[in-house]
């Protein structure tokens, strides 16, 4: 037994030292400026947004828009293929985000049509011919994979943009049914700017201006007798005030829908100045796009071309000659310049995104929450410790040691796995404390009972720990089951609570049985004959 006991003491001390070093020491060291290794500092328990202050955003990815743009692109490709093949059809119409229809396919050209449609067949189910029309529906598995891809791409794009923003320790994660993206930006106070950068589609298009500028949308519509041709669209823009300085009023342009160059063709973007020394964004194109753009500008010399960003005409210039691989966005202010570079560099978002939740916590609010949470924990701990010492006397010391070691392990493990301390997490601490006390109470009450039945101290201890271990196992496992479901359901803060609880349950099982028993045996082992137990 003695050799066994030595091992148990060794394990207990080792656990206390390791977890104390990882969990407690960095906190103490950073408040008192004690020396500390960098890798330890990195592992320090991090505070959640509710304690540190910052911005919490939830975006809903409109995956439908990603499907729609794929369907539109496919319809456009088919239209193009039919034109090159010389097949005349009545028309290609996009019906919904996943469907388009080709009307009026002449019977004699059916075979040629089907050949041209072979490309579409890879991703779309083609209906059988009805009245000379075919309906194409995106295959369900393609829909699913495109949706999933759009969400992942959106998340990665947001990550890049947030990194460009220079936020320390941001957190970006998919949540809910997977179509939601949670963005947490600690320390950020300018919500509106952050929101603008994160969700701007960042879609750059270079396209021809058909007519304009018009002073209003109505005027633009009237120019086409309220029937805008399908290959054109009316977009707002700002009139370039020229050398005069300032930025002009809003005007409207009718531009070609099909872009000569799009955001995908972009190689790089950087801040620059225009000819009047005003902020501008210069961009260069990829090689194959440069070739295309060269041909496009060559054939359209003398016509006005628009640079469109996120469905807004940024600038319009007349094509003077062949342009190959670079261009400039002008008519923006300084902040717009910085933000535009960020969005262009990070790439376009594959789908539209809507904000569905937004929370800002000012730093003072967070500090208040920390103070309140810590006060409550300390008061709670003090009350419980006082009670245990009062009620269980010397054995109470044992319980208090187990309780505190439990909290040390909890802090250490949370720091180690990189969990974040939130307000509900503090609540989880308080609850863990409660469960820890319960375990000790169960054991001590049992020992008391055994002692009352006249058993010697050591037998009573063994019986107490032995019997109660099974009870503890049952109670802890069922609590863990509840916590696991909480984790499934939980959004950020609640998940933090569940994490804390599960870790606390595990460490409590260790401290209240293994450690507590070791302490009893360590103290009682010194005495050859134990007659009484202070409990």
């Amino acid at each position: 037994m003695q050799k066994n006991l030595r091992w148990r003491i060794l394990i207990t001390v080792a656990v206390a030292v390791v977890f104390g070093l990882v969990g407690v020491y960095p906190i103490v060291a950073s408040s008192y400026n004690l020396p500390m290794a960098d890798w330890l500092l990195e592992k320090q328990l991090k505070l959640g947004l509710d304690l540190k202050g910052g911005v919490h955003l939830v975006l809903q990815v409109q995956t439908d828009t990603a499907l729609r743009s794929e369907t539109e692109a496919q319809a456009e490709r088919l239209r193009e293929a039919l034109r090159t093949a010389g097949t005349n059809v009545g028309g290609v119409t996009v019906l919904s985000s996943t469907q388009f229809r080709v009307d009026g396919v002449p019977p004699e050209q059916d075979a040629a049509f089907l050949q041209a449609a072979a490309d579409a067949d890879a991703n779309f189910d083609r209906s059988s011919r009805t009245n000379g029309a075919y309906t194409f529906t995106m295959k369900p598995n393609v829909q699913n994979s495109m949706k999933a891809e759009a969400i992942v791409q959106a998340r990665q794009t947001i990550e890049r943009r947030v990194n460009e923003l220079g936020v320390a320790e941001p957190s970006i994660a998919q949540q809910g049914n997977g179509e939601q993206i949670l963005v947490q930006l600690p320390g950020v106070t300018d919500v509106d700017r952050a929101k603008g950068i994160i969700s701007s589609t960042g879609l750059l298009k270079l396209t021809l201006v058909e007519q304009g500028p018009f002073p209003s949308r109505e005027a633009a519509l009237q120019a086409f007798n309220n029937a805008v041709p399908p290959d054109l669209e009316i977009l707002p823009g700002r009139q370039d005030a020229g050398a005069g300085g300032g930025l002009g009023s809003t005007v409207f342009y009718a531009v070609k829908k099909a872009a000569a160059v799009s955001g995908r063709d972009l190689r790089s973007a950087q801040q620059s100045l225009d000819q009047y020394n005003r902020p501008a964004v210069s961009f260069t194109l990829k090689q194959d796009a440069a070739l295309r753009f060269g041909n496009f500008t060559q054939t359209n010399i003398g016509r006005p071309m628009a640079i469109v960003l996120d469905d807004r005409v940024m600038s319009v210039a007349t094509i003077q000659g062949r342009i190959t691989d670079n261009g400039q966005i002008t008519g923006i202010n300084r902040e717009e310049m910085i933000d535009t570079v960020i969005t262009l560099k990070s790439g376009a978002l594959p789908a539209k995104m809507d904000y569905i939740q937004e929370q800002t916590i000012g730093p003072s609010l967070g500090a208040d929450a920390i103070r309140a949470g810590v006060t409550a924990s300390v008061v709670g701990l003090f009350l419980v410790v006082a009670f245990m010492l009062f009620y269980y006397k010397l054995s109470g010391v044992n319980a208090v040691v187990a309780l505190i070691l439990n909290l040390v392990i909890l802090l250490g493990l949370m720091a180690y796995i990189g969990a974040v301390m939130t307000l509900p997490g503090i609540a989880g601490f308080v609850l863990t404390m409660g469960i820890g006390v319960d375990s000790n109470v169960l054991i001590f009450e049992r020992i008391k009972e055994e002692l009352e039945q006249g058993r010697p101290v050591k037998t009573a201890l063994n019986a107490g720990f032995g019997r109660v271990f099974l009870t503890l196992l049952d109670t802890h496992i069922s609590a863990a089951i509840a916590a696991l479901f909480l984790m499934q359901f939980g959004t950020g803060p609640i998940r933090g609570f569940a994490y804390t609880l599960i870790i606390g349950l595990a460490s409590n099982l260790f401290t209240s049985t293994f450690v507590s028993r070791t302490l009893f045996e360590l103290v009682l082992g010194q005495q050859p004959q134990v007659k009484t137990l202070s409990i």
């Binding site: 969700s199 904000y355 569905i356 609540a427 404390m433 009450e445 496992i477 499934q488």
Partner: protein, 330 residues
């Protein structure tokens, strides 16, 4: 030291009174819930909340008037209350609207609220916190909350049925459902907002209540093995008495922590702490009076748990007639 020493309370005698009391509380809770409604927190209801810190504390009434006057479609759904410590001079304003969903316009309402207060000349203020939740989020959450709760109950049911008896599992789950209903009733009585934190507390109460029940059932299981001559009712009563000290001490210390949380935990944790306090009390009560009682009801006709050899002693339960029948059957 002992709080309870060798007690011989006849808990099962009180089971009918307990069941009536529980029903009264639950029905009253449902009644209040239907008439006054259970106020939903922002996460579930959707809306905009703004926490503003003023240079000079304005009266709640003046802020409300400012909103009524300047905020479109304000009225009774606008909540204005002081927030946190009075020394912080903070006021929380909550309106049910959010900006239209789509793009970044969600926060339009926040600007409208700010403008309304600014227009009323209540002195300088800074917005220290905002929360905007679109209604779709709430619908999502309530659905998930309910499924998480049902799943966790099924998980617990399965675990206890595996480790104990099916009847024990039924007792534990009914006791837990009972606790949730009672806690809801108290949330309705005191009109606490149903927030995510409160839901977390409710799920914690679920775990706590089962924990309590399992400890008692564990003792019943142990005693049933050791005392084959006693009837189930006697064994249950004995077990309840044996674990009474532990039950009260654990509930007491858990209550101490929760009360500390309630008093010092700040605004955000108050609803959580209130729910915990109610949950601990009802969880302890239900383990003793509901869970154990259901096990005895369930096994009324079960021969396995009936006293095999000894003549029934009615002193402990006062339910002589019923037990006589069982003795005959065995």
């Amino acid at each position: 030291m002992h709080i309870f020493h060798n007690t011989t309370f006849d808990f099962l005698r009180w089971r009918w009174h307990a069941i009536i009391l529980s029903w009264v509380v639950i029905i009253a809770g449902v009644a209040v819930g239907f008439t006054k409604g259970v106020p939903l927190g922002l996460e579930f209801a959707g809306g905009t909340a703004v926490i503003a810190q003023f240079d000079k504390t304005p009266t709640i009434e003046s802020v409300r008037q400012a909103l009524d006057r300047n905020f479109p479609n304000g009225g009774e759904n606008v909540i204005v209350q002081s927030y946190g410590e009075p020394s912080q001079r903070e006021v929380m304003i909550r309106v049910p609207q959010v900006g239209t969903q789509g793009g970044t316009s969600l926060s339009a309402t926040r600007s409208a609220v700010e403008a309304a207060i600014r227009a009323a000349n209540l002195g300088n203020f800074t917005v220290v916190g905002t929360e905007i939740v679109s209604p779709t989020v709430g619908r999502d959450l309530s659905q998930k909350g309910l499924s998480a709760f049902v799943l966790s109950l099924l998980g617990i049911l399965a675990y206890i049925a595996f480790r104990f008896e099916f009847s024990f599992a039924v007792g534990a789950v009914i006791a837990t459902v009972h606790d949730i209903f009672v806690t809801f009733a108290f949330l309705a009585f005191f009109q606490y907002d149903l927030t995510l934190n409160v839901i977390a507390a409710l799920l914690t109460v679920t775990g706590y209540s089962t924990n309590d029940t399992i400890v008692i059932f564990d003792r019943v299981r142990e005693n049933l093995r050791a005392m084959r001559t006693k009837s189930l009712n006697e064994v249950v009563n004995l077990s309840l008495n044996q674990t009474l000290g532990r039950t009260v001490i654990t509930a007491g210390t858990a209550l101490l922590s929760s009360i500390a949380l309630f008093l010092f935990g700040g605004e955000v944790l108050r609803g959580f702490a209130f729910t915990m306090i109610v949950g601990i009390v009802t969880g302890t009560y239900s383990s003793v009076f509901v869970a154990a009682a259901i096990v005895t009801f369930w096994n009324r006709k079960n021969r396995r748990f009936a006293a095999a050899t000894a003549p029934p002693s009615d002193a402990a339960t006062g339910q002589g007639g019923r037990k006589q029948k069982r003795a005959k059957a065995s």
